[in-house]
């Protein structure tokens, strides 16, 4: 499957509740052993906040833009890839309830 096809798909928990659109995937691995694996899903939050890098804190300022877009990180959550039961084609389905699978994106970002 194509990465761009996954981005934007709704992420749905085991009860059918929608967490939000898939905004990003965090990838881990070593190209030397030919294995790059998805570890985290980043779900929800404003599209532009992700696109400009405000969600994971890599972008700072200008203060007005940061204030407008960083607020979006409050609604973004991270979900461990191990909690995914099905990747696409119409949704990303989790095997757990949202309360168990999702953590605040700022908490997860400390390990990124």
């Amino acid at each position: 499957m194509r990465g761009s096809d996954l981005l934007g798909l709704p992420v749905v928990d085991v009860s059918g509740a929608v967490l939000g659109p898939l905004r990003d995937l965090r990838i881990d691995g070593d190209e030397r052993d030919g294995r790059l694996t998805v570890r985290w899903l980043v779900v929800g939050g404003r599209e532009w906040a992700h696109r400009f890098g405000y969600i994971d804190g890599r972008t700072r300022g200008p203060w007005l833009l940061e204030r407008l877009l960083r607020g979006s990180s409050d609604s973004a959550v991270a979900v461990a890839a191990s909690a995914v039961a099905q990747w696409g084609p119409d949704q990303v389905l989790l095997s757990e309830p949202a309360g168990a699978a999702a953590v605040p994106v700022e908490t997860a970002a400390r390990t990124w």
Binding site: M1, R2, S4, D56, A80
Partner: protein, 131 residues
């Protein structure tokens, strides 16, 4: 449930649209698409990436994307943008670098090759534009 606490990279900020260099450090394009595959255990892994206007056009979509794909197909027979397997990648941090030189990868950069051969090499001083 927690993944290993190692450094990870963002698909959309660290891979998509990033510059790709060949084995001689020559720029060959940008990552226009990432291919992923789910394993038996449900793990999703990157299997490769695509460079080229056809892949970018499909990603962009709409009339603009359709025009990009059509241009690539007409000028360079670059219909699908070939898949470069993940094994062809030597390094992905901080830049994506391939093992091989562009001259050893005839399926890559079709539109750029066409432009180099038919346009840039005909401009005075552009004689070395062919790959």
């Amino acid at each position: 449930m927690s993944p290993d606490h190692r450094s990870t990279r963002s698909l959309r900020l660290d891979l998509l649209d990033q510059q790709v260099l060949d084995g001689t450090e020559r720029p060959v394009g940008r990552v226009d698409e990432i291919e992923l595959e789910a394993g038996q255990d449900g793990t999703l892994a990157v299997t490769g990436f695509r460079l080229g206007g056809a892949a970018l056009g499909r990603r962009v979509g709409g009339a603009v994307g359709h025009a990009m794909t059509g241009t690539c197909r007409r000028l360079a027979d670059d219909e699908a943008s070939p898949l470069l397997p993940i094994e062809s990648l030597k390094d992905w941090s901080p830049r994506l670098t391939l093992h091989r030189a562009l001259s050893e990868l005839p399926e890559v950069a079709g539109l750029e090759r066409w432009l180099g051969k038919h346009v840039v090499s005909r401009i005075p001083g552009g004689g070395d534009a062919r790959v």
